[in-house]
Amino acid sequence: MTVGILALQGAFIEHEKMLSQIGVTSFEIRKKDDLHRHFDGLILPGGESTVMIKLLKELEMFEEVKSAIINGLPVFGTCAGMILLAKDVCNDKMNSLSTMDITVRRNAYGRQLGSFSAIAEMKGIGKIPMTFIRAPYIDSVKDNVEVLSIVDGHIVAAREDNQLATSFHPELTQDVSVHKYFVEMIRGTKSGRRSSV
C-alpha cells in the first residue's frame, strides 16, 4: 500500500513519519506529475488552507484531486485538510475541493492563544491525544456523514464513506491510531472499489 501526501505547504513530513512508523510507504505530491504515480490513499495535511487551495489551482492539480476523491479515493484531511474537503466554510469564502458534506468553521478557536491540546474519545479508536492549532471545527454535517468525535460540544472528527476529516493533528502526537484507522479505511475501500483511480 502506498499513500500520497499533498506536500504543497505545511506539516506533511509529520504524516510521512507516522505512516512509516506503521509500515506504510508514502510519497510527496508537489506537482501534477506526482498525481500520475500510483497511490491507494491521499492525505491532506495541516498548514494554511488558503495557500494549499491556491497552489492546487495554480499547479493545475485541483480538478484531478477533486475527481479522484469523488471517484472513491480514500482521503484523510487534518485541520487545513479538513477545510479543503468541506463543501461549506461558514465564516469565509473558500473555493475548497468541496467533496464532503460538512460545514466547517475556520479558525474556530481564534488565534494562536486559542490553540490547545486535549485527550478525548474518537469513535472506533478510543481515547487519544488531540492537538488543535488555530483549528477549525465542524458546525454541522449532513445525514450521510458519521460524527466520530466531539470535544467541548463541537464536532472535531467525521467520516463520509472514503473521506475522513479531523480538526486536530494526530500527526503531532505520538499516537498512530488515527493513521491506522485511515489505513484500515483504505483496505476496506480497496476491496470494495469499482475501479482504481
Binding site: 506533511f12 506537482k31 494554511e48 495557500v51 495554480e58 499547479l59 475556520r106 488565534r111 492563544l113 488555530r134
Partner: protein
C-alpha cells in the same frame, strides 16, 4: 509558560513549514500577500529596506496598524518587537498576535538580555547566525528560529552564510562522541540538554526558516535546498516592480524548490527585482545585533 503551551507554539511553526512569510505594512499589502499564497504575514510600519534608508531608532509598530492587518487577513499575523523589550512583547501578546519576532531589524532595547520568552503564552521567533545563538534563543523560550541574513539589502550572501553555518555546526555535533558534548555545550554557550538533542536528532528542536536578503524565486529555492524549512521575505516583495507576481513566484518556488524547470518558468518576466545593496556597501550590520 507551561510545557504544553511551548509544544503548541512549536506546533504552529510546523504548520508554517514549506511556506513564505511576507513583510507587509498595510492591510492592502496583507491582502495581496494572502492572495499570493503567503502562509503568514509580518505586520510592520516600515520594511527593513526603508528602516535602513530612514535611519534612527526603529520600534514596535502601532498596535492599531497591526490590528488593521489582523482584520484584513485570515492567515497568522506576526509582528516584531525590539530585542529585550519585553513590554513591547506584552503589548503584542495583549492584541493576540500569532507570533512575535524578537528582531534585530528593530533597534535593540537591551544589549545584554533577550526577552525571557518562557514568561509568555504567545510564541516567539528569533534570528540566529550560528548554532550557539539558535540554541540560546530556544533556551530562552523561542519556538521557531530564522537565520538573520542581512535584512533590507536584497543580498542573499549573509542568509546563505548563516544557514550553512548552522547546518555544519549541527552535523559536527551529530558526529561527536557523546562524552564530548559537555565541552561542546561550553563552546556553544548553550544548555547541555539542547546540545544533546541536536546530537541525537541532527536537527534543531524547533522549525528553522531562512530570512534576510531573499529577493527572487531562485534565492528562496537556494535557501530551501540548503535546508531551510521555509522563508521570510521582507523588502524583496514590496520593493520590487510587480509585488503580486513576485510573491506568487516565490511561494511556488518554495514548494517546488528542487525542480529547475519549474523554477525557470517562475523566474520569467517578474519585472524589476528590488535594487539591493551589496554587503560591502552597508554601514549597519543588523545581524550583529543580539548574539
Amino acid at each position: 509558560m507551561n510545557e504544553s503551551r511551548q509544544e503548541l507554539n512549536r506546533n504552529l511553526a510546523q504548520m508554517l513549514k514549506g511556506g513564505v512569510i511576507m513583510d507587509v505594512t498595510t492591510p492592502e499589502q496583507a491582502k495581496i500577500a494572502e492572495e499570493a499564497g503567503a502562509c503568514a504575514v509580518m505586520a510592520l510600519e516600515r520594511i527593513p529596506a526603508d528602516i535602513r534608508a530612514a535611519g534612527g531608532v526603529s520600534r514596535m509598530s502601532d498596535p492599531q496598524m497591526i490590528k488593521g492587518i489582523q482584520e484584513a487577513v485570515s492567515i497568522p499575523v506576526m509582528a516584531k518587537c525590539r530585542i529585550g523589550h519585553f513590554v513591547e512583547a506584552q503589548i503584542l501578546q495583549s492584541i493576540e498576535i500569532d507570533y512575535i519576532d524578537e528582531s534585530e531589524v528593530l533597534s535593540p532595547a537591551d544589549d545584554i538580555y533577550h526577552i525571557d520568552k518562557t514568561k509568555f503564552y504567545v510564541p516567539f521567533v528569533c534570528g540566529a547566525r550560528n548554532l550557539g545563538e539558535a540554541l540560546r534563543r530556544i533556551s530562552e523560550g523561542a519556538t521557531m528560529i530564522r537565520t538573520k541574513g542581512e535584512p533590507g539589502t536584497g543580498d542573499v550572501i549573509q542568509a546563505v552564510r548563516h544557514i550553512r553555518m548552522i547546518r555544519s555546526e549541527i552535523l559536527r555535533l551529530h558526529g561527536m562522541d557523546e562524552s564530548d558534548l559537555f565541552e561542546a555545550a561550553k563552546e556553544l554557550q548553550a544548555p547541555y540538554e539542547l546540545v544533546k538533542y541536536v546530537h541525537d536528532n541532527a536537527k534543531l528542536p524547533v522549525v528553522n526558516f531562512a530570512a534576510g536578503g531573499i529577493a527572487t524565486p531562485a534565492d528562496a529555492a537556494l535557501m530551501m535546498q540548503l535546508g531551510a524549512e521555509g522563508v521570510f521575505v521582507g523588502s524583496g516583495i514590496f520593493k520590487s516592480g510587480n509585488p503580486a507576481k513576485r510573491a506568487q513566484a516565490i511561494v511556488k518556488a518554495v514548494t517546488n524548490y528542487t525542480d529547475a524547470k519549474v523554477l525557470a518558468s517562475l523566474s520569467e518576466d517578474l519585472g524589476e527585482a528590488m535594487v539591493g545593496i551589496n554587503e560591502q556597501e552597508i554601514n549597519l550590520l543588523m545581524a550583529e545585533r543580539g548574539k
